[in-house]
Symmetry: C2
Subunit: 262 residues, 2 copies
């Protein structure tokens, strides 16, 4: 199938590479920043274009892999595309499928549930892809695309996708931020972040076969007040960390306080 | 070496098993709950005792693997032990080594930096062990014990250990709680937690070779206000989740707002 990619960020890059490596043709790449478009276009043997008006009318599928704010802007400039009749896809976790209804007859969503960093390689076959389409024919086309690049394809609706995205923010983005807090606390005490890596691994491994609420550990789970007070006191110079520590510990204490843990 | 274990929780259990499987002898196990002491004693061919007064005076090392609150209580009952002259060890991340100074001539800390759940097996060789002792001779004894059961042995002081424990709470306990929040959000929307597992794995994998602050992703990192507003609005019925979302997103936005991300 032929594609035009709008965007040059992490999702655009990894998705383009996966498509290109699995027999699809990326015809063109557009980005607000032409240099970024050129960089991505070079990786997938595509042409970088400077304006959306240059979109090749024969392209079968246009993928909008840009931030939600940018989707709105791009859609205004894409109003001419209706006559070409391509499938239009966005990759947002949060925008409903209906944001595309004014611009295309056949449209849908291809939401990759993964954290992409530009310089971190990934096996796209293990990236869950969530598909939604506005009609049966487009749904089949999207499933075909998704199954050609991933072994983990799900069909979910816009409401579910938004919940999934929020869950992903907690399980990935906020989790990574907490890794960064931990790293910062260790650096302040001349300790290496390497020390924590087995613990981080084990925490992620445990929930592969256990429900997270069944493997919660730590001072808040045990309601070990002495430890929590000592930690809060040690964080007094870092009120942001202290506030998070207090709030989350309170939540965990409340959740588990009627369980015994010896 | 011979040991008496005080405690029967997760740390006591996994540590006793590691010692027992590596040529050490657990003579006795004590726990406030005798049944729990018996269960652990059976696993490591030891004798469960009903009172601390029954501690065998020939034992070389006594390990206190109980909550910080309980350490204080146990130490009061252990005042007679001074005449036996064993090494006394606690396993707390937070208590300073000096809590043991009144009770023993030779004492120290063996802090396992890992999350233990009773029914989740673990390869103890990969558990980082943090050692501290009150004198050189005891330090050598503790290093010998630690190196006999783990390949990851560190010597750190009480101040560093407390910081490490706080870092571990963020990187493990709070992270697991966020996995539980994610699980809860998915259940509310008839989605399986399995969908998130590749993402959770990748988030933990990324930081094995990258500093966490260099691989942060998500709406807050991009300062994608539309997405954050949509998520906050979707969480309006769950004010606890909403507050955490707001606070952590604000922190991430502030941290990265001067970086461009396209």
């Amino acid at each position: 199938m032929t594609f035009t990619i709008i965007g040059s960020g992490n999702v655009a890059t990894h998705l383009s590479l996966a498509l290109s490596q699995n027999g699809h043709s990326i015809l063109q790449v557009y980005s607000r920043n032409f240099n970024n478009a050129q960089t991505l276009a070079n990786k997938v043997a595509a042409t970088a274009i400077k304006s959306l008006a240059e979109i090749n009318p024969i392209v079968e599928t246009i993928i909008l892999a840009v931030s939600d704010d940018a989707v709105k802007v791009v859609l205004k400039e894409l109003s001419f595309i209706h006559s070409h009749n391509p499938i239009i896809i966005h990759t947002s976790g949060t925008l409903p499928i209906t944001v595309l209804s004014a611009i295309a007859k056949n449209y849908g969503v291809l939401y990759p549930l993964q954290t992409f960093s530009k310089n971190v390689g990934i096996n796209f076959l293990n990236v869950p892809l969530c598909v939604e389409a506005n009609n049966e024919k487009t749904q089949q086309a999207l499933l075909q695309i998704a199954n050609s690049i991933s072994n983990l394809v799900y069909t979910i609706n816009s409401h579910q996708r938004k919940a999934l995205h929020i869950a992903a923010v907690f399980a990935c983005n906020f989790t990574n931020y907490f890794y960064a807090i931990a790293d910062n606390l260790l650096q302040q005490n001349q300790l290496s972040f390497d020390m924590l890596k087995p613990l981080i691994n084990e925490t992620a491994n445990k929930i592969q076969i256990n429900a997270p609420e069944n493997v919660q550990t730590g001072p808040a789970k045990r309601n070990d007040k002495k430890v929590m007070e000592a930690h809060l006191s040690a964080l007094s110079q870092q009120p942001n960390y202290q506030l998070l520590y207090r709030l989350i510990s309170d939540e965990i204490v409340t959740k588990y306080k009627n369980q015994t843990d010896c």
